[in-house]
């Protein structure tokens, strides 16, 4: 995983609550067996008209000022629904590196960290301010500084955000968490030696 330290990018406002993973990446695109190539199908049902090809001019990500956005701001409960990791893969592949929202669904939130996509929870009022700035100021940019847990714009807006220290540490260093767990293989073996025999697995 690539480390995440600091980025500056254009903010796209998606003013919807409960954006579910079926919207982020509809199921017909889950049949790929790779992790890449999902970006073109991101928000497919909203992004394209019924022919599945012509961009829907009313959808915010199709507005010319947001085509190079790398920060998405949305309303509460972003990423609800399915556990599909294809959702963060699609957001990353499209070009997003940061999602700002008042709240996230647990599995989606967790999946983001495994892929170097940074989900940040902010108070509703702060989200509303950022949403309004992104909607009203063409080319509105934010700088996201994970090292210092700070978000700022060029006009003097600065806020700090909270993040679990271990998750932050892993993102900053681009750590492979499977590798971290494998360092404890002695502890795992010790645990396994105490498991009851009836839980020792099946064969068909």
């Amino acid at each position: 995983m690539e480390p995440f330290v600091k980025i500056t990018g254009i903010v796209a406002p998606l003013d919807r609550a409960n954006v579910d993973t079926d919207q982020i990446i509809p199921k017909q695109f889950l049949k790929r067996v790779e992790r890449t190539g999902f970006g073109e199908f991101l928000f497919y049902d909203w992004r394209y008209q019924s022919d599945g090809k012509t961009p829907n001019p009313d959808f915010v990500l199709n507005f010319p000022q947001y085509t190079s956005a790398s920060i998405l701001v949305a309303a509460k409960n972003f990423g609800s629904g399915s556990s599909r990791e294809h959702a963060p893969w699609a957001l990353m592949d499209y070009g997003f590196r940061v999602i700002l929202a008042p709240s996230f669904a647990d599995i989606f939130y967790n999946n983001c960290f495994k892929n170097g996509l940074l989900p940040i929870k902010l108070p509703e009022e702060t989200i509303r301010t950022i949403m309004d700035n992104a909607a009203n100021q063409r080319g509105y940019e934010l700088t996201i500084d994970l090292e210092n847990k700070r978000i700022m714009d060029k006009n003097g807006f600065v806020i700090e955000f909270d993040m679990d220290p271990f998750r932050r540490y892993c993102l900053l260093n681009g750590l492979d968490d499977i590798g971290l767990t494998l360092q404890y293989s002695d502890d795992i073996a010790a645990y396994e030696s105490k498991r009851p025999s009836w839980m020792c697995g099946i064969s068909i």
Binding site: F104, D106, G201
Partner: protein
């Protein structure tokens, strides 16, 4: 000794290592795998040269995109077929047991886990699927994970987890006739909202929960994720033990006795504390129906489509407005006047034998309304055989419903079973998101009895009138 909740007991018993300021390393007893969220995990193992640590603690099946029509015919969708072939190849390469498309025990992953006795009380159970909380009905800590975590479990049989908070949902009263576990959980989601339990492991308690069958408990736990919960669980009791005894992979002989003795200790201690408690009384509950595009947008069958303007905050008003527009519904319309084009009975929520029995009672001797297409998709090969042994298939077919092979089918529409744009469906599944059952499709979540009633009348109907 410290009083503990069931969640805390199971959690503590699975901590392999914990360090201040870091997530716990949690041992996973049972890992379930299906074709859609595993391919990239196996690829990850190959890229890093890692092995599967405990291949026989992972069990694979094919369910999400399998066809539910004649299994002897070749699979037409080449990409779906590739995904199934890749799973079969991965299971072979890494030595993982697989119930493939042609295995007699194939079925929806959350149906076969309990049915085969793979899911047992006190276990940690994970699967790359958000409805994994279903297995929590056995008294297990079961939760959905993403593909990176699937890879993590394969490589280490462990996960790094931050401890969720605990919530108790206490359900009192006895369910009135015609009102089911599905109505209970829909009403709970309606009450606390689709993010009401985000960050929590939920334990369902109370008289109404105790009186549910194991299958009803599974329906309740299954939809915990629709309230945002990390997990949903119910303490094991005699109902649980009676269900499990004799199941294919349940402990046998003296192991069984030892296991039951351990399982009896799992329940939440009398003065253990939860971070939050929600209380609900179901003695006057009605059958529930969703009217919107998330499972929290619900109304009783005697209700009306709500007016978005009546919602207290701006976010909910906006969401309701967008939902009604998508659903093609007018505020004030009586719910029982909403016509349906399709009916789906099945899924990990309501595809078990009791669900099919309940639905068959409603349609027996009646005919599906003209212009309604209704399908019944058993949750597993076992459910299908049992239903056929009881003659339920004949009742459904005689009433004009289609009788299919086991799979996830129209719950998520990854196989050919999908809604056309604008079609409206009474569905026993778990999600009514936009496009969930097919682009432009409109889903109303209901119980199996309510779905059966809608199939007969052609509109959402109060099953208590049958």
């Amino acid at each position: 000794m410290k009083q503990k909740t069931m969640f805390e007991k199971i959690w503590d018993a699975h901590v392999v290592r914990s360090e201040e300021g870091k997530p716990a390393i949690l041992y996973i007893d049972m890992h379930l795998v299906h074709e859609v969220t595993s391919a990239q995990a196996f690829d990850g193992l190959r890229m890093t040269g890692r092995k599967v640590h405990r291949p026989n603690l992972t069990v694979a099946t094919m369910d999400h995109n399998v066809p539910t029509t004649d299994r002897s015919a070749p699979i037409k969708d080449r990409i779906s077929k590739k995904q199934m072939d890749v799973l079969a190849a991965n299971c072979k390469e890494f030595g993982i047991p697989l119930f493939d498309l042609h295995h007699t025990l194939q079925g929806v992953v959350h149906i076969i886990g309990p049915e085969l006795g793979l899911s047992q009380p006190g276990m940690t159970i994970v699967c790359g699927d958000s409805h994994t909380a279903t297995h929590g009905a056995m008294g297990a800590l079961a939760f959905g994970i993403g593909t990176s975590e699937v890879e993590h479990v394969l490589a280490t049989q462990c996960l790094q987890q931050l401890k969720p908070k605990t919530m108790r949902i206490d359900v009192q009263g006895s369910l009135p006739t015609g009102v089911t576990a599905k109505d209970m959980i829909l009403s709970i989601i309606g009450k606390i909202g689709t993010d009401g339990a985000t960050g929590y492991a939920v334990e369902y308690t109370g008289e109404a929960i105790r009186n549910l069958s194991m299958e009803g408990r599974m329906t309740v736990c299954n939809m915990s994720i629709e309230a945002g919960a990390r997990a949903g669980m119910i303490a094991p009791d005699e109902t649980t033990f009676a269900y499990l005894k004799g199941k294919l992979y349940a402990p046998k002989g003296s192991d069984w006795d030892e296991a039951v003795n351990k399982w009896k200790m799992l329940g939440t201690d009398p003065s253990a504390e939860f971070d939050t408690t929600v209380e609900i009384d179901v003695s006057k509950l009605e059958p529930y129906v969703t009217w919107g595009t998330n499972p929290g947008q619900v109304a009783p069958i005697s209700g009306r489509v709500p007016d978005p303007e009546t919602f207290a905050n701006e976010t909910d008003r906006k969401a309701a407005k967008a939902a009604l527009e998508y659903m093609g519904l007018i505020p004030g319309t009586p719910i029982n006047e909403v016509k349906v084009d399709r009916v789906f009975i099945g899924s990990c929520t309501n595809g078990r034998i009791e669900d099919l029995r309940a639905a068959s009672k409603i349609v027996k001797g009646r005919m599906v309304a003209p212009n309604v297409n209704a399908i019944v998709v058993p949750g597993s090969g076992e459910v299908k055989r049992q239903a056929e042994a009881e003659g339920l298939d004949k009742i459904f077919i005689a009433a004009g419903l289609e009788w299919r092979e086991a799979g996830c089918s129209m719950c998520l529409g990854m196989n050919p079973d999908i809604l056309q744009p604008g079609e409206r469906c009474a569905s026993t599944s778990n999600r009514n998101f936009e496009g969930r059952q097919g682009k432009g499709g409109r889903t109303h979540l209901v119980s199996p009895e309510m779905a059966a009633a809608a199939a007969i009348t052609g509109h959402l109907t109060d099953v208590r009138q049958f």
